[in-house]
Assembly symmetry: D2
Homo-oligomer: 241 residues x 4
């Protein structure tokens, strides 16, 4: 059973009434619920827990880490970020949701600013599957709509994704690479754009399906552990001279 940890900043839900109404148990609570129903073993962790809930033990028992943050990216301790990145390079999957494009682990794993343009106008977003053969597209329709979305627009300052699965159309004129796959070390990363603290986006079936698919896709494999070493002894005989 794939073991998932859902990490949430968990500030908006405690501080703003309209967010609490959408996600009374926190965004992590909602995500935990549908992932548990999908058959995953799910734990949660939040910013204000000791070590942000991401202890060595918790990470060692995590196959795929989901990350939701927005207003307090800077409060995440660098040593915890180091720990997360080390685990990703070692094989742990990492899903960055919505505003987690600006989270420390995501930015450090990608190496770019991860900047974008945005607009909070509750406009319509339509997501198109551009790679229907990709496992993250399983069970999705050709396109689906998020009725009230915060717009994220290109240029999205990311490295070109290894696989581009979803593209977003926005009512106000923008497009966005909304479902982006990367490999880093032995780990797999997926960025998924939809989601917001004041819209019920994580209750939408297609959005949940994408996240479930991405967890399956990002789960660690059983490939070899590379030896990074001074291999003084050649594998094949060298010529005399």
């Amino acid at each position: 059973m794939t073991r998932v940890t859902v990490w949430n900043e968990f500030r908006h839900e405690r501080e703003e009434e309209r967010v609490r109404e959408q996600y009374p148990e926190g965004i992590h609570g909602t995500i935990r619920e549908f992932l548990a129903e999908a058959g995953f073993g799910v734990e949660t962790a939040t910013l204000d827990e000791p070590e942000h809930g991401l202890t060595e033990e918790r990470l060692a028992e995590t196959d795929v880490l989901l990350w939701w943050g927005h207003a307090a990216h800077d409060e995440v301790r660098d040593d915890v970020v180091d720990r997360v990145i080390e685990r990703v390079l070692d094989g742990m999957g990492f899903l960055a949701l919505h505003s987690a494009h600006y989270s420390k682990p995501f930015k450090r794993l990608l190496g770019t600013s991860c900047s974008l343009t945005w607009r909070e106008a509750g406009e319509r977003e339509r997501l198109w599957v551009v790679e229907p053969g990709h496992p993250i597209a399983d069970g999705l329709p050709e396109s689906f709509t998020v009725p009230d979305a915060e717009m994220y627009g290109e240029r999205f300052d990311i490295p070109a994704p290894d696989d581009l699965v979803l593209l977003s159309w926005f009512e106000g004129g923008e497009v966005f690479r909304s479902g982006c796959c990367y490999r880093r070390g032995a780990g797999k990363l997926f960025y998924f754009r939809p989601g917001h603290e004041t819209y019920p986006i994580y209750r939408q079936a297609e959005v949940q399906r994408v996240i479930e698919n991405a967890v399956r896709w990002a789960a660690p494999g059983g490939g070899p552990t590379p030896s990074f070493e001074n291999r003084t002894e050649p594998l094949e005989a060298l010529s005399d001279e």
Copy 2:
């Protein structure tokens, strides 16, 4: 259960004693055996059967098609190739083994000459896993050796692979991109270099493991079927002018 069809030219085994000794039931027989043991449902098809054994029915019931050909690529009927390609674009996986780099379906799916340099000297090949997080690397060591191999050397005239999983080193001085993944339509393709009619390469555990992993990876997903159509009705209202 993933349904596999192993296609083999099946001429060398009938015409040359030393090939028959290596593969008394044909290369397809050996591959069928280890794939069946790995839990797949496996059928075979060969060049000299009616329609090369690749009838509409056979292909409709195939999730992943393996292809081994060498001396008789030109004898494969174009209408059967059309049928294979249509199925790949529709989601069927396709594994091209060794000299199948020059097979009609592979060349047509890639669009290039698929040429390379070669040498038959029974030299040592060492395969290196360059993408340890890829599912096709599951269970493999960091590198493994094929003791007696036909050399294939770069430049290999293929499009840059979507994922490059394996690189080969050859005793005589060449390198080769030996494990190459592509998406075409809804289908997944994998080219795997090792294999030869007079060496027992398909009996080697690591080689079998790669092929098993690739079958799993290339099995069709459940993504949407795109509508390629004249969509006269816009999804969103157009402005008046």
Copy 3:
């Protein structure tokens, strides 16, 4: 000086009054004009010339071939297509414009159906630069608008581009990968979506700029010509056994 040949089906302009009004000298005439002004050496060729104007000599003297076709793709002779493809693999650049997504050379070089969804409603298209560091983006604004466009929508059944430079937004709700780079053999390919026989799109400054940039990018380089051969002599000594 980069030598360009602009190939045009050149039927609409002769048969339909409203197309002739847009492009009195043919689409190829308009493209020739602005490319010549940009400093390229430009010739043209059309479907109804002998060998479609694409003789061995013409192709041998072409660095970059532009292709516009729409209603008569099937009338292009296969031997001429073979010739074009051979030159591309040998290093000639190839630009497929708009409905040339369905041209024989483009489909054969990509290996997929190149299908898409479309709508002729004269709606607004907005093109976004997603890779501002790419040479094809030189001199472009962050986004630009084509006021009256035929919509092309995803799923566009192409292999994932090696570089994705432009994305289109359409008023009616669709998105499209509108500027796609590929390498095939030693040649470079660029697909560019905008363009239509009844809209003055090839007179638009940004569209002309993209085409000029793409010609520069796709011009042949001076890399090595691979030897595809039976290299019986190893480059390095083989071990005795």
Copy 4:
């Protein structure tokens, strides 16, 4: 004229006699010489200069920065690294040479450990051009040899390159992705493996040619500067609800 700055750690040459013999004016001196002969404007900078020679002014006047470091990566100040990265994302080219795979700017731009396996045995390396149509392959032979090289072997823990141009074969049995292109922000990166402080590798014609080609390829373009902003005003009218 493309303006190049060659950065060198410049410790080995001052501390070790055998290195000084190879590079009496420092590795940066040798590289400066052949790049100046190739027509570039070249400055140098070294670790022990104030701000490592990489002041705001120097970087503002640099189109492409070359980086050679080995034993003192950790002594490079983080604020200078920040400055370098900001310039790369803004369009400056960056070439990481040999042991610069472990330099701070390279590791931060790629996001991975950039680890590898190595052996100092003065063995033969053969570099193969796998992408002959790439500008970095201009003027190169199909393959070339570095007679005495330090081995670098896979797994090289990097993200899959956007373009893979060169592969290395080593006498002792290893392979390596030796010429790797990336885009980060508006900037282009190239990693080039050959080079060592005690071998005359930077005096070799093919090695110099690769570096010259890479400088041309990595020079900044003229694409748009993205606006990363809160675009409160939609570009297109939103529906009422």
